[in-house]
């Protein structure tokens, strides 16, 4: 493998051909502010925040769209670069609500990160007062256009990642906005509610409803279809409060569908969950103790010969559950009458 050498902020680094300046900087631990870049999406060059100085190049190219060439000399931290970046942020925040403390994305907002990095402490342009609509139609997430910074991560996600193309930028110039075909609410569009756009929104434009910050996360595997997406369940006070796609599994590479992302907590923590063993007495099921329930099952099953018993195991249960139940059928009940819904 041949490598290219380049110099970023007076540090020599080596990268593979085809690497962008942004990727090279990130790989070497150099921070470059961006709002439209996403590791899963093609370089876009839209937000203009990742501009850098490159020796011998006119103007300031965007790091995300500039491919590294041999002996390139890059500077990401000059005053000229910062000045341009600050004017980009000035324009964005002129149009952005300043209610950070009460915003759902507070401390998880990438616009805050960039503004803090650039040392923005005041508004330099007058606040625009245009109130934009909120699309509340989807049961799982809200699109609040007042927070939207038009980075197009959502529209590019809906194109490049999911191929659904439910949302695009409509109109021109200052009237530009993210919307659906015919400017209809999301629920009346072809949106599949997978939430991939919500996962990538850097600000509070696309946010999950009923979102509560978890205090811990645990990685597990989705219980719906056979794709086997791994997910991180966010836990707070002993309850599941959020779900994110996990990037560690090659089964899904961080992606999820609507059922995985929004269909877990409601069924796991549903009030109708069975919480106690039940026993049929005079034709109604009434609550009983584990001790009694297990004893009755053991006693009843012992009364039959193997060929009088059938066991139906479950494709919803774990490998360990299934291994144990087939071992139980074969070695304790003495029957091979064991099956599950593989065929259905």
């Amino acid at each position: 493998m041949n490598y290219l050498r380049l110099n970023i902020n007076s540090r020599e680094i080596k990268v593979k051909p085809g690497t962008t300046v942004l990727q090279a900087a990130q790989a070497s631990g150099t921070y470059i502010p961006t709002l439209c870049a996403d590791p899963d999406l093609k370089p876009h060059g839209g937000c203009r925040l990742c501009i850098v100085e490159v020796k011998g190049m006119r103007n300031m190219p965007t790091a995300c769209t500039t491919i590294v060439s041999e002996d390139m000399v890059v500077n990401t931290e000059t005053e000229a670069v910062h000045k341009e970046r600050r004017s980009v942020i000035d324009l964005i925040i002129a149009d952005h609500p300043m209610d950070c403390l009460t915003c759902i994305k507070n401390q998880r907002c990438e616009l805050q990160d960039v503004a803090a990095y650039l040392g923005i402490t005041e508004r330099n342009l007058p606040r625009t007062i245009k109130q934009k609509p909120i699309d509340d139609s989807n049961p799982f997430f809200t699109f609040n256009h007042n927070y939207c910074i038009l980075c197009q991560r959502c529209t590019r996600t809906c194109d490049e990642i999911t191929g659904v193309n439910a949302i695009e930028i409509i109109n021109r110039g200052y009237n530009s906005k993210v919307s659906t075909f015919g400017d209809k609410p999301l629920m009346e569009s072809i949106c599949k509610s997978c939430g991939e756009c919500v996962a990538r929104c850097p600000v509070a434009a696309l946010v999950a409803k009923n979102s509560i910050m978890p205090t811990s996360k645990i990685e597990t595997t989705c219980p719906y279809c056979g794709v086997g997406c791994m997910m991180e369940l966010g836990i707070r006070n002993g309850k599941i409060v959020s779900v994110e796609g996990s990037r560690s599994s090659q089964a899904n590479n961080g992606r999820l569908c609507v059922k995985g992302r929004y269909g877990i907590a409601d069924f796991v923590q549903h009030p109708e969950r069975l919480v106690q063993p039940l026993l049929r007495k005079s034709n109604t099921l009434i609550e009983t103790s584990w001790e009694e329930a297990l004893n009755i099952v053991a006693q009843k099953l012992s009364a039959y010969s193997g060929d009088q018993i059938a066991v139906i195991a479950s494709a919803k249960c774990t490998n360990e559950d299934n291994y144990i139940v087939q071992k139980f059928a074969r070695s304790v009940l003495g029957t091979n009458n064991i099956d599950h819904c593989a065929r259905l």
Partner: protein, 538 residues
């Protein structure tokens, strides 16, 4: 699965989810991937964006048709005829991979003979697809390798489902599209752990790792490992169990985490069996239509409350981790079964944690031999993974087939067990919707999902709707030889005239009251995808 076991020696998906991104041509038949396996659906669309050809064979106008180069809208149940026609064209035009056939496969002659006896104009009549389109699809699949085939229940849930699968396997072998990246025969498993439940031996004829109980060496191995005398008589499949209960031969049932009254064909028959059995113990997380008939109900935990593993459709074993405490007094399923076993005096059920169960699985199951929780904490592993150093297997049959040589199987087209006639003039086919899952036990507890799809809809072509004087939203009775249900009409050009479509997510309109329990003779899969019905307005 039986079809692939016969031809390749292994019934599992040959390649991997991400491997589809490297295919030059994807042929999807009998799978509505964007609704049933959405994240694999993303991969298919992504592949087409980077230039891969896409052929869709489906009786319905599914979402992926928008992305397809060719859409073959064949009549439900005519898959074998369609595939045989494609193979005949490939052979006739010399597009087959002769060296692959010679070196890697066997039994080619009888197979070729069966194609010689097959007539292309008959194929056109049976499938309803113009011959020109079949020719174009055959060329596209054969000439754009590596080509991957995807299929799901639209292929297997037929009274000749095994033949359908064999036809697919034949097509892949004929063009050498097996054992290399971007190719393969990829059955998409419908449930999170259907692959794992099969791997673990929750099947009537095999122990874990598909080790046949009929083989003396296997019996001996488990006799030693478990310290028992393994019963050698092959057990019953679910559909056969239901019959045996009604005949009085099966008297006790232990049902875990399933809802056969909604998921199995001819639901009336299943309900009768579960209502009359002498002793019925059910273990589940909710009361459902089946569980409510039990004599004892044991509360299991959901996936979020226990440790374990699932094996996904691409054979990847991945961790399930306990995120919250069991709800109420519910207990993990493995623990409940162990506690019953111990009360029956059995030894070998004194596990304290699921990792110890996995250690036993690895000991007795060659394909899981190298799998342990310690390794899985660094990421999933695809079986076969025979020892602790083995990195897992992303593509099967690379050097040789699991059974040695790939076996071509001659075929003959057979029609579905029940075809439309004077009394029941329409065809019903079934499937799933993105926003619900299987019998709805989980997904219908999620209010947001219900707002997308909250009740059954009978999808009917505008021509049929006009003929029957039906409007969108009209309530109708759908009647088959086995029963009747009511649901609302949704007029849609997704189906072809004469074919209606329903899901089986809703207990209020239990579609499987209508479906035909005619079984595939080998795989014992019922014909859920085709039955004859009539519709009358209420």
């Amino acid at each position: 699965m039986a079809g692939l076991a016969t031809t390749f020696g292994s019934g599992a998906m040959t390649n991997s989810n991400n491997d589809l991104l490297g295919a030059n041509c994807i042929f999807s038949i009998g799978s509505n991937t964007t609704e049933t396996h959405p994240v694999i659906g993303f991969n298919i669309k992504k592949a087409t964006r980077s230039g891969a050809k896409l052929i869709i064979a489906n009786p319905r106008h599914i979402e992926l048709v928008r992305y397809a180069d060719i859409w073959l809208q064949h009549t439900p149940g005519s898959d074998v005829a369609l595939l045989m026609a494609m193979m005949k064209i490939i052979l006739k035009e010399g597009l087959h991979d002769n060296s692959f056939i010679m070196q890697r496969c066997e039994n080619f002659k009888p197979f070729k003979q069966s194609l010689d006896d097959f007539d292309l104009t008959t194929a056109e009549t049976i499938t309803g697809v113009p011959l020109g389109q079949i020719v174009e699809a055959a060329r596209m699949y054969a000439q754009n390798g590596p080509s991957a085939i995807l299929y799901a229940m639209g292929i297997t849930q037929h009274s000749h489902g095994t033949d359908n699968v064999i036809a697919i396997a034949n097509l892949a072998m004929l063009t050498g599209n097996i054992g290399k990246p971007g190719s393969g025969v990829n059955p998409l498993r419908g449930q999170n752990n259907v692959q794992g439940a099969c791997d673990m031996g929750s099947l009537p004829n095999v122990c874990s790792g598909y080790q046949k109980i009929s083989e003396p060496s296997i019996k001996q191995k488990f006799n030693v490992a478990w310290g028992i005398n393994l019963p050698t008589e092959e057990g019953l499949s679910i559909t056969e169990m239901i019959d045996s209960i009604l005949q009085g031969r099966i008297k006790a049932l232990y049902l875990i985490g399933e809802n056969p009254i909604l998921s199995d064909p001819d639901a009336g028959h299943v309900r009768k069996a579960l209502s009359t059995i002498e002793f019925f113990v059910a273990q589940d997380i909710f009361i459902n239509e089946s569980v409510e008939l039990a004599h004892v109900v044991l509360p299991g935990t959901s996936f979020a409350e226990k440790d374990g593993t699932f094996t996904n459709t691409e054979r990847r074993v991945q961790r399930v981790r306990k995120a919250i405490d069991p709800i109420g007094y519910s207990r993990p399923d493995w623990l409940i079964t162990c506690q019953i076993a111990q009360r029956m005096g059995a030894k070998g059920f004194d596990f304290e944690q699921p990792s110890q169960i996995m250690d036993e699985i690895a000991k007795v199951t060659p394909s899981y031999g190298g799998i342990s929780y310690k390794r899985l904490d660094k990421g999933g592993l695809q079986w076969p993974c025979p020892d602790l150093k083995h990195p897992g297997t992303s593509i099967l049959h690379t050097q040789q087939f699991t059974r040695g040589k790939g076996r071509f199987m001659p075929l003959r087209y057979k029609p579905p067990a029940e075809l439309p006639d004077k009394d029941y003039p329409m065809m019903l086919t079934t499937g799933r919707n993105l926003f619900q899952f299987h019998t709805g036990t989980m997904s219908r507890k999620v209010a947001g999902l219900n707002s997308f799809k909250g009740e059954e809809e009978v999808e009917i072509h505008p021509k049929d709707a006009e003929r029957l004087f039906l409007n969108n939203g009209d309530k109708v009775k759908v009647i088959s030889r086995r029963g009747e249900i009511t649901a609302r009409i949704k007029i849609s050009e997704a189906s072809s005239p004469g074919v209606i479509f329903m899901t089986f997510h809703f207990a209020e309109s239990p579609t499987n009251i209508l479906t035909n329990p005619a079984l595939d003779p080998i795989s014992k899969i019922p014909e859920l995808k085709v039955c004859s019905v009539k519709i009358s307005k209420i």
